[in-house]
Symmetry: C2
Subunit: 262 residues, 2 copies
């Protein structure tokens, strides 16, 4: 399976440009699955819900779903895309898995970062596993990384590849995702955005360095802090079913849940 | 509080030498707390229980407890020591926290690595927090590191400093302990052994690189792969009570346990 990430600079308030830029960077890409950043269509810093609203869309219909359905079909690739969702008047920091057949699976970010709490509701979908081309994918967004329970829950549910859409500003995450791979023996794909953004009295510099790790924590491919790029690598997802660190240590059956009470 | 680790080369089957070597390296050390490696008194590779038995001891009485009680009192420092425990005929890969007043707290390794499973029983103490000089210490041994639930349980119980005695052979742990610090906002002290050991058809090279991390994952001090040494650093353990990554993100109250079901 060929998996990759798109790293680019989504411009705040420029949805159409962001969609076109994604399409342009992805043209001619040969892959089964590509992960895009968090809020890839809208940009990140919104002053309030009113300012955000024009850049929100429903998960399974409307202009954003339609655009990525077309792109997924034309590339014949699954696309994992972060976007601002509006559902019955509520906004979520969401991620869609768009498949070439037009089906869309949805994850809503569980752990909101910083002032996201003022414009989004915490996700209510939980950490679910979705199947694509016979492989189990787990979805998560940005700050979910700091909670080991996020990847753990996905992995214990059978996830082979964690698709992680991010807008990272803290410097720790990329290295932590190596730990997430090792402790769960899963592949991880982190797609992070680049560029600076300034609005509503805030300014963030996003750290790029998107990466793909294997089940032993090896970084298979990574991007620099500033490049707009697509990187693809071929992996064998089946190896993520093997949880044996040694011949006597299956790290899942070795767990002692009775001892994890507090 | 001055905290440190002792990194050295415990020689298999040479308990008396190992005790003397520990004492020698610790002489004149000025610290409140020192962590020693896993199985620091016995060495690591034992063919079977019979071979191990002469190097086991009870946790709170007998020659190993007596030796470290004396050393703790003379240094006026808490000592966390990995040793092979015998309790009612059962062997545990254990860790004692020896205090200058003679009190000893005990942890028995929960997650056994590789062929340890043939000579030790899995620990039954669970992940407990022990107080020393007003600071909450959590104990864990070596392979416990790969299970995020170990540090998580200790941290959620209030641990400020994780005392991690190790005999590491895999290359991942030291970096993973940085993630453990960040995701729990705790200090970690990993004391790892050095040297090669060969017995019973096995050979291991231990990786040294003992380290102390702060709550943000900074490595405050570390050792090389091969040096026998004691390293001490002064820390302010109270900062580990602050779980705020940002002014709106307390990483413990941000947890969503309802979403961590599988």
């Amino acid at each position: 399976m060929k998996v990759g990430f798109l790293q680019f600079y989504p411009k705040l308030f420029h949805e159409k440009r962001n969609l076109m830029r994604s399409k342009e960077l992805l043209q001619d890409v040969d892959a089964d699955l590509i992960v895009l950043p968090e809020l890839a269509t809208s940009g990140y810093i919104f002053a309030n819900k009113k300012e955000l609203e024009p850049y929100t869309a429903e998960a399974r219909k409307g202009r954003i779903a339609d655009f990525f359905r077309d792109l997924s079909a034309s590339l014949d690739a699954g696309l994992v895309v972060g976007f601002a969702e509006k559902a019955q008047g509520i906004f979520y920091n969401s991620q869609m898995l768009v498949k070439p057949d037009g089906n869309i699976d949805l994850y809503r970010k569980t752990h909101l970062f910083f002032k996201e709490k003022f414009i989004f509701e915490p996700g209510d979908t939980g950490f679910q596993v979705f199947e694509f081309r016979g492989i189990k994918l787990g979805l998560m967004v940005c700050f979910d990384w700091i909670f080991p329970e996020a990847c753990r829950t996905l992995a214990l549910k059978g996830t082979q590849i964690i698709c992680h859409s991010a807008n990272l500003v803290l410097p720790f995450c990329q290295k932590a995702m190596i730990t997430r791979s090792i402790e769960n023996r899963v592949f991880t794909i982190t797609s992070n955005r680049i560029g600076n953004e300034k609005n509503a009295g805030e300014e963030f510099g996003f750290t790029g360095m998107s990466q793909i790790t294997d089940i032993k924590g090896n970084v298979l491919v990574s991007a620099t802090k500033k490049e707009a790029c697509v990187k693809v690598v071929e992996i064998e997802p089946a190896v993520a079913k093997d949880k044996n660190v040694t011949e006597f240590n299956d790290i899942f059956s070795d767990r002692k849940p009775d001892q994890y009470k507090f």
